[in-house]
């Protein structure tokens, strides 16, 4: 039996955003490289990106600007105003051991490669983390964002060449 495609699984696993935090699913698109889903409530934007070749689910958390999701500008320096941050950086601040790695790092014998439920198990790990570690942001409390800002800007300096 074949498992479900990513978008169907993601809609099921992230349904709590709608039922518990009043988000609406603004966008759900299949691209040639994967999938992208965007959820918004009155204060917060969540972008969930799945890239086949990364075997990973990237989640971005945004503070809405006048109700709209604004993307970060591409070139970042110390003075750049950022509207969104990666969920992985939030996990790294709050409980690094909870960070989910790219699927291939767990090996083909992991539950994530079960033919029927592997992808569901994997997406579920991200949704459970979002439920557990991002409650404040989902409710519109962005007091942790300055800490995430420092992380991103340090990374820019580290990789600048």
């Amino acid at each position: 039996m074949k498992g479900k495609n990513f978008d169907l699984i993601a809609k099921e696993q992230f349904i709590f955003l709608i039922s518990e935090y009043n988000f609406v699913l603004l966008k759900s698109e299949k691209e040639d490289w994967g999938y992208e889903l965007v959820y918004l409530n009155k204060t917060t934007g969540i972008k969930i990106t799945y890239e086949y070749r990364e075997a990973y689910v990237f989640i971005m958390l945004y503070q809405l600007d006048k109700g709209e999701l604004r993307e970060n500008q591409g070139s970042i320096n110390d003075n750049t105003v950022l509207y969104g941050y990666g969920f992985d950086d939030l996990i790294n601040l709050r409980n690094p051991q909870a960070l989910v790695k790219p699927a291939y790092e767990y090996g083909e014998r992991s539950i994530y490669y079960d033919k029927e439920s592997g992808l569901l198990e994997y997406v579920s790990a991200f949704s459970n983390n979002l439920k557990k570690y991002a409650k404040d942001i989902l409710k519109g409390d962005f007091t942790v964002f300055p800490d995430l800002d420092k992380v991103v800007k340090e990374r820019v300096k580290k990789y600048n060449y």
């Binding site: 299949k30 691209e31 490289w33 086949y52 950022l82 950086d89 490669y113 992808l119």
Partner: protein, 95 residues
């Protein structure tokens, strides 16, 4: 992937014959995760494509990392290593 495609399209709009490596969905399953074995095959395809473009003398643009991502793509690392090993120059371009 989205940023690479967007940058290539922007260059095309400026008259540059820009190409980008397509990690086509046909090479990846949508209903399960890419396996470690498939990762190796995918990296090999990426490396072959990049080497072909280098041999053809293409100018290589580097959009750098997405600093909001905590993890680095093994594909980006592979491309940087290939370019460094061959001593091939890149042109840095903003995302």
């Amino acid at each position: 992937m989205g940023a690479v495609k967007t940058t290539a399209k922007m260059l095309q709009s400026q008259g540059v014959n820009a190409k980008w490596y397509h990690a086509w969905s046909k090479n990846f399953p949508a209903n399960r995760l890419m396996t470690p074995g498939e990762l190796i095959s995918a990296q090999a395809r990426n490396a072959r494509w990049l080497n072909t473009k280098i041999n053809q003398g293409y100018k290589i643009y580097d959009i750098g990392i997405d600093a909001t991502r905590a993890t680095r793509s093994p594909f980006y690392q592979l491309e940087r290593n290939s370019l460094q090993q061959r001593g091939y120059p890149t042109t840095v371009i903003q995302r």
